[in-house]
């Protein structure tokens, strides 16, 4: 039977449509509709044996753990752990299919391309640790800051607002490319998109909550956003590269910035904001790091991939040093905040440099633990040239 959905998909854009009466007449003539009118139901799905062809399994009773019913619980009960290769179907893992299932040409069909040992618990953690920018920040405790501090914080938050747009724009576009068999990565990225949306929201709210306003947008965002639309761009041409560039390099640096924001915060409200966004960001970095590890341990032709990844890593590190750590708005806003005012910028700059060293050190330790040693190849200079 040809479904109405597939008929609709085959209609060329703006082709003449049938009238409603004609459409109803078509439906009336439909063989299945005629059978149902006669009480002759299909029930193929209902009577199918639970052998994985038309119906998956039957009799599975997953037991909730103490926190509730998790994906880990149902995987354990069903035994439906992902195999190395996904079938070219739009079916949930373990489900049955129609007699003649439509094949789907997903872009990503192999486990090594998406998996990380912490992917499933991280998704559960993401769901459990969601928070509300509206309700979970004690906005009523907002305190006035000196004007130069408020202006610097608004600039810092303007930059972070843009950074969060970027992460959503780049990552969300990958969700339709993953085979539904690997639902975990789709779910995790959907949760990450929500995280990034909330971060944009909370920074925007903070900017307008204490007498300040949006600061200067920087070209950094638009440059990367444009590159993200180019499928053959080396930065975003494969999931492994995208994940490395975004989760490990970019979010690793932003995680340090969020820690720095919490450190610099002079009010409970600012502390709360950065504490909450820091948690989310660390979750993204944790996936990216262990995905890198899984890819290194399981990908075919891994030596070639690692060489390509080194190239990508060098580009990313150079890009972020130039457009991120050395951008006047980022550097100077942080120096003012760390120096507790414009007059203390020199002192604040030393703190900023220390943060950069810490970020670099943590980045290198993280990827080394994943099996990707860039100690001798890292393009982040040991010290910022300032």
């Amino acid at each position: 039977m040809v479904s109405t959905f597939s008929q609709i998909r085959e209609v060329p854009a703006f082709a003449a449509l049938p009238t409603k009466a004609e459409f109803v007449e078509q439906l009336n003539a439909d063989e299945y509709a005629r059978r149902v009118r006669n009480g002759d139901f299909d029930l193929g799905w209902f009577n199918a044996a639970p052998d994985g062809t038309r119906w998956g399994q039957w009799g599975v009773r997953a037991q909730p753990s103490r926190r509730g019913l998790t994906l880990m619980d149902i995987d354990k009960a069903s035994g439906l752990f992902p195999e190395a290769f996904a079938p070219p179907l739009a079916a949930p893992r373990g489900g049955g299919t129609e007699r003649e299932p439509t094949t789907v040409n997903w872009g990503i069909n192999e486990r090594w391309e998406v998996w990380a040992e912490n992917l499933v618990p991280l998704y559960e953690e993401a769901c459990s640790r969601q928070w509300s920018a509206t309700e979970d920040i004690e906005w009523s405790r907002m305190e006035e800051l000196p004007p130069d501090m408020e202006r610097a914080l608004c600039q810092f938050n303007t930059f972070l607002t843009m950074a969060e747009y970027l992460a959503t724009d780049v990552l969300a576009s990958w969700i339709p490319k993953f085979n539904t068999y690997f639902h975990e990565i789709k779910l995790f990225l959907a949760s990450q998109a929500m995280d990034e949306a909330r971060h944009t929201e909370v920074f925007r709210k903070r900017i307008f909550a204490n007498g300040g306003g949006l600061g200067q947008a920087i070209n950094f965002g638009s440059q990367l956003a444009q590159q993200s639309s180019l499928a053959d761009n080396i930065l975003f041409g494969s999931w492994a590269f995208t994940s490395y560039g975004v989760h490990v390099v970019f979010e690793g640096a932003i995680l340090s910035m969020f820690r720095f924001g919490e450190f610099l915060g002079k009010t409970d409200v600012d502390k709360q904001i950065f504490r909450m966004v820091m948690q989310d960001e660390a979750r993204h970095v944790a996936y990216g790091t262990l995905h890198l590890k899984y890819m290194i341990e399981h990908a075919p032709d891994v030596e070639r991939r690692l060489e390509e990844l080194h190239y990508l890593a060098s580009i990313s590190e150079m890009f972020f040093t130039s457009f991120f750590f050395l951008h006047p708005t980022t550097l100077e806003a942080c120096a003012i905040l760390a120096g507790e005012g414009v007059d203390g910028m020199d002192k604040g700059l030393e703190v900023y440099k220390a943060l950069y060293r810490k970020m670099r050190e943590e980045y290198l330790m993280r990827i080394k633990q994943a099996g990707f040693d860039r100690t001798d190849r890292c393009m982040y200079p040991e010290e910022l040239p300032i």
Partner: protein
């Protein structure tokens, strides 16, 4: 020095009291979210050598275990990360939290750890130490239980 949870600060009994306080407020910790981590606290003497070490097990929304351990164990696979400070610095921090009822902006754990002068974040692996960032609000809330 006293703490609102009763027992002598930084002892196993004190952490047991903190765990009990956490358990008594399940809605708060459920709101913060699941928290699976093995977290150490190391108390150093004036010469910098470890005087005491406590390993806490957090599971779901509770602190499920409190153990006195040999300090070396905190650098092994049983522990995701630990916080180390001199006894005097721990006591100052606890006294501050007790007095204020919560950590003020200059005394949150992340702030102290990033400054890295009084309280230090340590661990066997970076991914383990990243757990401190990932579950930070839960640990901060737990630590502030000492204010009662």
């Amino acid at each position: 020095m006293t703490s609102a949870v009763g027992a002598q600060p930084l002892t196993k009994a004190w952490f047991d009291d903190m765990a009990a306080a956490m358990q008594a407020d399940p809605d708060r910790y459920r709101r913060l979210g699941m928290n699976d981590a093995r977290v150490g606290f190391r108390v150093d003497g004036e010469d910098g050598s470890p005087e005491a070490a406590i390993l806490l097990g957090f599971r779901d929304f509770e602190c499920t275990s409190v153990e006195e351990v040999d300090a070396q164990r905190l650098d092994g696979p049983d522990c995701d990360y630990y916080l180390a400070a001199d006894r005097r610095d721990w006591e100052d921090l606890i006294a501050h939290v007790v007095e204020k009822g919560r950590a003020d902006p200059s005394h949150t754990l992340n702030t102290l750890v990033l400054a890295d002068d009084r309280v230090h974040l340590r661990g066997a692996t970076q991914l383990g130490m990243d757990t401190f960032y990932r579950l930070n609000a839960s640990l901060q809330a737990f630590f502030e239980e000492c204010a009662g």
